[in-house]
């Protein structure tokens, strides 16, 4: 077990506060009377609602289907009735409302029948579709639909990395999960390895979780099928970043603008592996997750709560916020965000993305002093695990010169917060980078819209032009035809010069021409695609034709009967 480990540049050592919540086992939440299930719980297109207000649903029933490629399904957390399908408060930094299905529990908690998946024999694409319909998304915080990550596009993935680093302070949900359910996690890993065709499986865990490492090692020793190596890595924030963990374990550096798959490694969170185990072995969709509730609460710990559980109920389960608390953080203190609504009855629900709720207290989270000017000390550049120059990116983001900011590889920033953490001027650098990124994204959206509008406008011009041309051509053709007909008539008259009445001859010719035209027109509307018909179909058509002629010739006095 002596694997050569690598160390990325930078990183910081924030205070862990892990012992606040990692001492007690994962507790289950009782059934609640009401769940709020957002349709957008993952990165990508939100799910399309499959239920309407008034519908009754069962636990595990799909209430939102994946829409588009980057999307996944959502499911009812319990049995009951859909009471609303409306924009509802969600845990999002904007504090804006998003489409949610509100379900009133009937207290029975009846489930649909779950069918375990025969993953070893199932067709790979069928298996992926099943995983999509079971709603699996990465539980590390980015919530990328798992079925896409399990699709080894063109192969080339030789290393499967399980992320048990959990480097953010305060959060312990993966720690507890590994301690208590190591064997199940490894079964999920087996499925991942099968789907990706990876040779090597590495499980990276920070060395501040010795119990988790021991439990995973014990489970790995007992697992014959997956030869997974549990690697203890040095505690250093942010080892849990996908690219950072890949580098630590394999020494492969992800190229700028790329993903870890570009260097042959795919990274999954421990929690995702556990959810995959439940999906495959039990056939259960993603209905719940383990979430850490910590900080200034009576009973900090980890709770297995159904997705859609209102934050207020989650806090209630943890004994409620203690007096003197100020605000709540969703996620960790480094990368998380403040919950907009600080009311006691916060109805924002638990989603797949929420791994931790921290109740803040001024003693635990002292207010940051106001930002001072940047002195270009370079502390942020030394701390940056992505080898960027945050002070340069900050300089241009602040001046809203986004092109320049981007030229300093803004989009390689993983928003880990190390730069803000070390900044002696207390500049909220990451906030600037998030601001710049979302501005650039909006510009790209506008650019895309403009390009689309331009092509559509150009096509409309082209279409109008074409129609005009066609009309002119038609007119010209008609004129030419008339001319030809006149000429033909004249010739006919000349040919029959001896016959008695030239006037009658001319009329006859016109009549003939009209008849010819009618005949031609009739021929042109003859049924199409009638060649190569099978005898049965031909016979059927004949019968229909016969019936039709009969109907046409049916005597009218039949009505009088």
């Amino acid at each position: 077990m002596t694997r050569k480990l690598f160390t990325f540049n930078g990183g910081v050592h924030p205070e862990g506060h892990k012992d606040v919540s990692n001492a007690t086992p994962i507790a289950n939440l009782p059934l609640l009377p009401r769940y709020v299930v957002p349709l957008r719980q993952h990165i990508g297109t939100p799910a399309r609602a499959l239920v309407q207000v008034g519908d009754t649903v069962l636990r595990g029933q799909m209430i939102g289907a994946a829409e588009g490629y980057v999307s996944t399904a959502v499911h009812a957390p319990t049995s009951g009735r859909v009471v609303a399908l409306e924009p509802h408060e969600v845990p999002h930094p904007s504090g804006l409302a998003d489409m949610c299905v509100v379900i009133e529990s009937d207290g029975l908690d009846q489930a649909v029948e779950f069918q375990p998946l025969d993953w070893r024999n199932l067709d790979p694409s069928a298996l992926r579709n099943r995983i999509r319909d079971l709603g699996l998304a990465g539980l590390g915080g980015a919530v990328f639909p798992s079925f896409i990550k399990l699709n080894p596009e063109g192969g080339g993935i030789d290393t499967l990395i399980l992320n048990g680093a959990e480097c953010e302070p305060w959060i312990t949900c993966d720690d507890r999960l590994m301690r208590e359910r190591a064997a199940e996690i490894l079964q999920g890993v087996a499925v991942m390895r099968h789907m990706l065709g990876a040779r090597e499986v590495l499980i990276g865990i920070e060395d501040n979780k010795p119990e988790a490492i021991a439990a995973m090692r014990a489970a790995a020793a007992g697992e014959a099928e997956v030869i997974a190596e549990v690697v203890s890595i040095r505690t250093l924030y942010p080892t849990g970043g996908g690219k950072q963990l890949t580098y630590i374990l394999t020494g492969r550096e992800t190229p700028t603008g790329g993903r870890s798959t570009d260097v042959g490694a795919q990274v999954f969170n421990i929690g995702t592996a556990y959810a995959l185990y439940r999906a495959v072995a039990l056939g259960e969709p993603m209905l719940s997750r383990v979430v850490t509730v910590t900080g200034h609460v009576a009973a900090p710990g980890n709770y297995e709560a159904r997705l859609g559980t209102p934050v207020a109920d989650l806090l209630q389960a943890a004994g409620g916020a203690l007096p003197g608390s100020v605000g709540k953080l969703v996620g960790g203190p480094m990368m998380g965000f403040e919950l907009e609504n600080d009311a006691e009855d916060n109805a924002a629900p638990l989603t797949k993305a929420v791994n931790c709720i921290i109740v803040k207290h001024p003693d635990l989270f002292p207010a940051k002093p106001s930002a001072l000017p940047c002195i270009r000390c370079g502390a942020c550049a030394r701390a940056c695990p992505a080898d960027l120059q945050p002070f340069e990116m900050y300089w241009f983001s602040r001046a809203k010169d986004f092109g320049k900011a981007q030229s300093y590889d803004l989009f390689d920033c993983i928003e880990c917060g190390c730069c803000s953490f070390v900044c002696p001027s207390h500049i909220p650098l990451v906030d600037f980078f998030r601001f710049a990124k979302s501005e650039i994204w909006e510009r790209e959206r506008h650019k895309h819209d403009a390009d689309q509008a331009r092509t559509r406008h150009e096509f409309k011009d082209f279409r109008l032009e074409r129609e005009k041309k066609e009309k002119a051509e038609k007119l010209a053709a008609k004129v030419a035809e008339n001319k030809a007909r006149d000429a033909a008539t004249a010739a006919a008259i000349a040919g029959n010069a001896e016959s008695a009445d030239p006037e009658a001859e001319r009329k006859k010719a016109i009549l003939q021409a009209a008849l010819d035209r009618a005949k031609k027109a009739k021929e042109s509307i003859a049924p199409q695609n009638t060649d190569n018909l099978s005898p049965a179909v031909a016979k059927q058509i004949e019968e229909i034709e016969a019936r039709r002629t009969q109907a046409d010739t049916r005597p009218e006095h039949e009505e009088g009967k």
Binding site: P373, W395, F396, R398, A399, D401, K404
Partner: protein
């Protein structure tokens, strides 16, 4: 050979045409807003100045001589104008955006005091043909160098929190002054 190298170093650093001779200030302030423009302007000026130095040496030596010395300024201007016209057409063809961005400053190379100044200095210092070429090229390179440095600084200044009265050209002037002071540090590099 050493002689030419010395001329180059002297004109680029020690006797920099903008920083110590204070010539060619209008394009220096005018087209230093963006780095790309500054590089384009520098390249155009280098081309014009090198060619103009050589041509004006030939004209001065073989056409004008001592008898027609009074035609020096006049003929130099005509030659420079011709070369600038040529450069203008060339840039318009190869880089319309640069042409548009340089705008009025491109034809104004004609009246750039640096461009007329260097051929006249060549005559005054009695340089031979090669020396004239190197002197012209060195002067233009020095001009390009300070223009690019200055443009890079101004680009950063754009993003800086400058007090309102100093915004824009005023802070640029102050920066140019400080830069000039810094270039004085090269004095004495060559005797």
């Amino acid at each position: 050979m050493e002689n030419y190298l010395l001329i180059l170093i002297a004109t680029v650093f020690v006797n920099n045409i903008v920083m110590s001779k204070i010539l060619g200030l209008c394009p220096f302030m005018g087209v230093s807003r963006k780095l790309e423009t500054a590089i384009g302007m520098g390249a155009a000026t280098t081309f014009v100045l090198t060619l103009a130095s050589g041509t004006s040496y030939l004209i001065d030596t073989y056409l004008l001589g001592h008898d027609l010395a009074y035609l020096r300024t006049l003929s130099f201007i005509v030659v420079i104008a011709g070369i600038v016209g040529f450069t203008e057409m060339f840039i318009k063809k190869t880089s319309p955006v640069l042409f548009r961005v340089l705008g009025i400053y491109l034809p104004l190379i004609t009246t750039n005091c640096a461009v007329l100044g260097i051929p006249l200095l060549n005559v005054m210092e009695q340089h031979n043909f090669m020396e004239s070429l190197f002197f012209g090229m060195g002067g233009a390179l020095g001009f390009t160098l300070v223009l690019v440095l200055f443009a890079a600084m101004r680009e950063r200044l754009e993003a800086a929190e400058v007090p309102k009265p100093f915004k824009g050209t005023s802070i640029a002037m102050i920066t140019a002054g400080l830069m000039s002071l810094a270039f004085m540090g090269f004095a004495g590099l060559i005797k």
